[in-house]
Amino acid sequence: MSELPRIAVVGAGVIGASVAHALAERGHAVVLVDRDAAAIERASGSIRAGARLARLQHRSAAAPAELLARVRFTLALADVAGASVVIENVTEDLEIKLGVHRELDAICAADCVFAANTSAIPIAQLAAATGHPERVVGLHFMNPVPLTAMVEVVRGAQTSEATLARVAALLAAMGKDFVVVNDAPGFVINRVLMPAISEAIAVVHEGTATAAEVDRLFQSCLGHPMGPLRTADLIGLDTVLKTLEVLHENLGGGRAPCPLLREMVAAGRLGRKSGEGFFLYDPGLQHG
């Protein structure tokens, strides 16, 4: 195998911080950039909490401080210049993502690979904004990244074999398994999962069953480790809503997101990260 990729993670939200944590847990140095100092602050807290969890679960012997030291937190996008792989995790908004990809284009080396971590935006739309669609690939990580063995890799129409090989090396170095799928709105996981979550919310909204009852049915009847509503809380209800909107726009047909989901997002009940969603959590704490 060639030399290990030099990795930068752009966007320090829940999933970006979790990706950086998963890399650091495996001993990799990583640059984590976000323009928002508050996001960087929260990411540092969530990576520390994640490192404590790893210790509690005996997954990692690394001291939380040692793990944190592998992450270089920065506010300057220019600090990703030396990376051979950039994992982009900015918010699920096409215009914002396109803007970041154009900027990265100007900053990074001519052989850098750009992995977009998106819930549903087609990779082709992002690739088209850059001068190098062959070096753009989708990497759909699941939260929490250190605890999820599998990654959905999305091959855009123009993604090259060399790009896929570099991503495969990166995932191997992270101890992850992966499945490569073709580009389409929502790829596989979210195209199927998000409408299911949306219907689960509608079931609660209409009073057919409580959130706890819905989840218990999925857990006990189907053997899911987590029901759809606790899964939604973990993903973040704002992300669920944005993903459903992207799917709705791109696939047409189907049902619009349930009004209850819009109400909860508007009220700041975003799930685990805000302390309350369909279930209650401790406020102010996130986990990488």
Partner: protein
């Protein structure tokens, strides 16, 4: 509020079931998971003004109200 009542009041956010609050393994029934154990670590540090060190990060210290009380006591007397 004494220490025990404080911990129980915090746990009651997740369930008010007496059998669960008094159980020897709070993680067994699926009411809370080990990710929430980290939240418990942060809660104990803040509520009792203690610092929980890396070597204290053992589930046994957070599995029951008794375990948490013992940890708080040890951290205070150091």
């Amino acid at each position: 509020m004494d220490d025990r009542a404080r911990i129980r009041a915090h746990l009651a956010r997740f369930s008010r079931d007496e059998a669960w609050l008094g159980s020897a393994d709070l993680f067994a029934g699926g009411v809370i998971d080990s990710m929430m154990a980290v939240e418990l670590v942060a809660f104990l540090e803040k509520a009792f003004s203690i610092t929980i060190d890396d070597e204290d990060l053992e589930l046994a210290n957070f599995r029951s109200v008794e375990g948490m009380l013992g940890l708080v006591e040890r951290k205070r007397t150091r």
